[in-house]
Symmetry: C2
Subunit: 225 residues, 2 copies
């Protein structure tokens, strides 16, 4: 019997990436979780990420430091207030919590880890339905990254020479609303109470209840009953 | 008179990126140089990068730490010997000095810096002629990254809505041989003696003279007279 294929799973400590990890485990992958200490305001999520990784049976969990505060320009990485009580359902702009190129940098690191460890699968919890309007959560972004990944790497080039595709980026939540994510998480046995979604938690690590992420999460739970 | 447009220029301390910086300055850009302390064996290049940035009139120079040693799997970031005395001209494989996803990670950071600082141009010294066979130095890689950059970002999405393209990735050396790079550097007044290309310098920071990078550099100087 061959060993389970390895996958690199981006894990934030939030609900979405926890459900992605459970989904990838369910699909039979040996999951290696990757988190980032990027100077985020809601750094408490990293403790939750470690807990979630253990709870859901990740084979390993690594937190890599990257300095997005060096560039700033986001409410998550600079001294800009996190918007509260926005009408998330009606909003169509990209909010100030957008972090320039964040998912590109996260996926680039996941790609390095995948190629270095023999994984050919990466999973990320982006979601294009109930989301905050971030450009790097859209399907066209994910497709463009997958294409890049296969051109950027030795493994990608070698697979292409055999007429194969090396890297696949899994986005199991892409077309799911928050309520569906809650239901799927429950079905997979994820203890969602251990996750935190808030962008601006209290010093004690409690959610603010008013930022976009808290609102979307709350709505998801309400709709899922 | 409007201010010069800003560009983010990736600067390694080597010959190629120095010529790129000079080329972008020559083209009229206000250049913001970006270097990476990524656990590279040839860390001495960072001192040279700082010197080159000053010498060529970069408006700023920033060195960001990223931990590629966490993933290893390269002679530049792990305890793997740097190959010496290879027949570089005859070699067609991708050597062990290849660092998984390195240029993807570098460009992702440049993208974050560009969007955060109002630059819409990035320049990188990749070269598909006299190079070591790295997949992330090929034109198809650069094109795929540029496409990704415009999909990944708020600035890219907003420009697309106006029917414009936001980000351009400049690769002025892409089709140049090493001798041409030496000649172009001289024409632009770059003091190439201040750059270092070696992958495996001595503790005193002197080039080994035998790695691929030293061989390619040496051949460039010889052919350029």
């Amino acid at each position: 019997m061959s060993a389970a294929p390895r996958a690199v799973v981006l894990l934030s400590g939030g609900m979405d990436s926890a459900v992605v990890l459970a989904e990838m485990r369910h699909a039979g992958f040996e999951c290696h979780a990757l988190s980032f200490d990027y100077g985020q305001r809601h750094r408490v999520e990293l403790e939750r990420a470690a807990e979630v990784a253990g709870m859901l049976g990740a084979a390993s969990h690594r937190t890599v430091r990257i300095d997005l505060r060096a560039f700033g320009a986001s409410a998550l990485t600079a001294d800009i207030a996190v918007p509260k009580d926005r009408d998330v359902a009606a909003a169509h702009d990209i909010p100030v919590t957008y972090v320039p190129a964040r998912n590109t940098i996260f996926l680039a690191h996941a790609l390095a880890m995948a190629e270095s460890t023999g994984a050919r699968d990466i999973a990320i919890g982006v979601n294009a339905i109930d989301y905050s309007g971030y450009p790097d959560c859209r399907p066209e972004f994910v497709e463009a990254f997958e294409r890049l990944a296969n051109l950027a790497t030795r493994a990608g080039v070698e697979a292409a020479a055999r007429g194969e595709r090396w890297m696949r980026v899994h986005v199991p939540l892409l077309r799911m609303g928050k309520a569906d994510i809650v239901r799927r998480g429950r079905a997979l046995g994820v203890d969602l109470s251990r996750t935190i979604s808030c962008y601006d938690p209290t010093p004690a690590g409690l959610p603010c209840g008013r930022c976009d992420a808290c609102q979307l999460r709350e709505r998801g739970f309400r709709e899922a009953g």
